[in-house]
Symmetry: C2
Subunit: 147 residues, 2 copies
DNA sequence: GTAGTTGCAAACTTTTTGCCGCGCA
DNA sequence: TGCGCGGCAAAAAGTTTGCAACTAC
């Protein structure tokens, strides 16, 4: 009995496109991920997935997250703090970066074309083609800034 | 009996300057670190330290590395691969970045003034003061490059 | 029908911690 | 001499895996 606990999602489609079996658990995890615009770690992902369908174990979340990463569906990020965090890989080219608030740990995403170009030229000059950039800037809110 | 297993080192001095007790183990670890220009993880550090003085436990390496980090002597880096890696913090301002060879995993350090300036202005524009930058670029050696 | 997937619990890996004797300042 | 440090081994925290049952295709 195919007992659908949650609807399809863009990530579920991607999953099919890559020829991966779309099990109930994967559909759920894909749904949760499609619905997230932050950078959850595995435990947080597990919490959200269980809220949708309690028949998911954390081992499955780990396995799925790894599978999705290997298939270019997810990207692993490391913001310090010991646990891996994940976000949807937005195709080859909307490179974005992370500004981390030093006091709150909050992650702010941003893009910057000039930065893209500069990084590209630096790497090229050293004889490499740019594959991925991982940039996190830790910053402290300037005195006089709004709360 | 003060039984010196290894000489003082720039990091040992720094250690004293911060008012930290300079024990034999710390001197050894400081020595090993001063002597390293790569990015060892704790286990590698432990291996190198034990080679100098076998009376060191891995717990001490963990404790020392954390202590040094808290005192701005070391910086923790995350190149993926699960374990934290460390390098000597070169004072406030010789910010440098890492280019990681996608095929070999080799880490190439570089500096770039233009990049420093651009990052600084980006962060400032968002109302923050730059504290630290963590930038790793993964690149693949261009076809036709030397080996 | 079958190969691939899941849940569970146990194993593993990396890092932290409690306790007590010891060494640095 | 006193307070903090280090060794040891056990515990925590995060992640992976073996196995038998199950499910998508």
């Amino acid at each position: 009995m195919k007992d659908v606990t949650c609807p399809d999602s863009p990530l579920a489609d991607l999953c099919r496109q890559r020829g991966l079996k779309l099990t109930g658990q994967r559909r759920t995890i894909a749904f949760v991920l499609s619905d997230s615009d932050d950078h959850p770690d595995v435990e947080e992902l597990y919490r959200r997935a269980v809220a949708v369908d309690p028949r998911i174990s954390i081992a499955t979340v780990y396995r799925t997250v790894r599978l999705f990463e290997e298939n270019g569906i997810l990207q692993r990020r490391d913001f310090g703090g010991g646990r891996a965090r994940y976000e949807v890989a937005d195709g080859e080219h909307s490179d974005h970066y992370h500004l981390i608030d030093a006091s709150t740990g909050k992650v702010i995403e941003f893009e910057n074309a000039e930065l893209n170009a500069l990084l590209d030229s630096i790497v090229r000059e050293k004889g490499y083609d740019l594959v991925t950039t991982r940039l996190s800037i830790v910053g402290r809110r300037k005195a006089g800034g709004e709360d």
